[in-house]
Symmetry: C2
Subunit: 360 residues, 2 copies
Amino acid sequence: MADLPIRIGIVGCAEIARKVSRAIHLAPNATVAGVASRSVEKAANFAKANGFPPEAKIYGSYESLLDDPDIDAVYLPLPTSLHHKWAILTAEKKKHLLMEKPVALNVAQFDDIVKACEENGVQIMDGTMWVHHPRTQKMKEFLNNKELFGQLKSVNSCFSFYSDPDFLKNDIRVKPDLDGLGALGDAGWYGIRSILWAADYELPKTVAALRGPVLNEAGVILACGASLHWEDDKVATFHCSFLANLTMNLTAIGTFGTLNLTDFIIPYQEHEASYTTSAKPGFNELVTGWVPLPSEHTVNVSLPQEACMVREFASLVQNIKKNGAQPDKKWPTISRKTQLVLDAVIQSIKNGFEPVEIVS
Amino acid sequence: MADLPIRIGIVGCAEIARKVSRAIHLAPNATVAGVASRSVEKAANFAKANGFPPEAKIYGSYESLLDDPDIDAVYLPLPTSLHHKWAILTAEKKKHLLMEKPVALNVAQFDDIVKACEENGVQIMDGTMWVHHPRTQKMKEFLNNKELFGQLKSVNSCFSFYSDPDFLKNDIRVKPDLDGLGALGDAGWYGIRSILWAADYELPKTVAALRGPVLNEAGVILACGASLHWEDDKVATFHCSFLANLTMNLTAIGTFGTLNLTDFIIPYQEHEASYTTSAKPGFNELVTGWVPLPSEHTVNVSLPQEACMVREFASLVQNIKKNGAQPDKKWPTISRKTQLVLDAVIQSIKNGFEPVEIVS
């Protein structure tokens, strides 16, 4: 008998929840079970506008969704400042938790959330989609290939998007009491994650913010960057910004190989995604061209990355529900490392750009 | 009557001189007039191996080439530590000067060279080839397009190549008394130049070296990076290394557009070169793809970039010789700015990675 799909309830009608509710619908082992808003009308409109199944429930409060025994798991797209309260409550209500990034305002908050999940035996995973794309696995195989890629030496990552005056005045991502981590939390999260991903999640020894971060009047970061340094001389830089054109570049360079892509967070197209590798290139005799040329690789996609994410989450939840398995620790560990580096960037900015030692 | 081609003599049989002697041969307004080495046999072998014209002369000393009235201009591919002496002597002998990069060990030395060139009325240009590629002009048109690219916000540049143990032990680029600026002078030069190029050669206000540069036992830089900062919040980073796979990435991001290429210094192929632009991209409705997709542009090449460089140099020299024009100041100004930033990176490394103010 096939496992029953995991019934996921959505807490909050955020814009990103539209994409994720479709992903839940597409994932073969999950179903959209309901949506909660502080306004029942808003929740009903959201369900209608996003084609929810007729059996999906509408809740006029977050609590009522969390209290419903017909909900297995919760997708939490609330502003970062609300994560601590609602993630812990979700865990206490024995609901598994898929939560948006940044996972918390700082690591201490996230540790509280993880503790609540552990105490209540529920799975936690953050909503970073691109790591679940089949392309990401293919790229990782290249980075792990000691003969073609060698040893990782450097990473550069950039995520920026241009925000109009309305965004810069009104979006929750520029409000200190909502998504107070600003561009660092929203865009820099991906840069940090991509660097850690390339480094097999080995934490750097130190993190130093680049000088000249741009803050708004309320002190929220609109653009910043940082460099990460490891004991073995690996170095990585990232830049994130609300003030520059949409760009999603990732470059990882090893002793023998290079990986390049320019759409690592959201692939240009849903049905396929590409990346470029170069392995042991040299020059022709007079150094007027490369030999061999880089290779472009295209990965066909049967399930979009956000649905792969939901499928992975639901699979872990099924394993707990059906087999009594322990919640998987890999995903919260990765979330925590990402937040740890993010916290270090903020601390370095506060410390006048001095390097901050990472203590896990 | 067509102008006579500029007769260029090559001082030193460096590996790079093979490529440039072919470029001189290909340039329509220049001719390979001779080559000098401290060994006449080495010079003769070099001329033979590189298909010099029969009328090209062989010199057993640098001085004899500089003294020859049949030489109009000199290409100087000597180690950096020898530039000051031989570039000044070249100018004093009234020979126009095409010299390899980095132009000097520091700006003070380069200022001496420029002074000698000015006093003797000779042209000076450095050997940075990629800025002469027709692709570079096309890319600049995109960066200058206020509607499609907007205002420059950030640049990232990377040039690395993997060096084998023999290089790391014996190459002149790891010897403090020869190319003592190491990877910064050899590879970082291009990163700095590309950033200045994207910024319309506006000097940054401050430069800060990234932490963790890698030095060899003699103190020569094998890998390092830096961030550059302007008053208007523009920021740029570059990384250079002898220890990581061949990579030549350049990304420039404006408010509305992004330029990406991965072979900016030496194009993958000689007969054509590409770059990618993205202008005002957004997402589709559910943020699962980009609209519009980036555009790839390919520029066909009739003359390789190094020959375009020689053609430009020879054209300036012809203008001086034939029309009595003043030497062009654009190229030495650009060289000097590049060296100024390079010096600041070294100073920042020495100062414990504190930012260094750029005073032109």
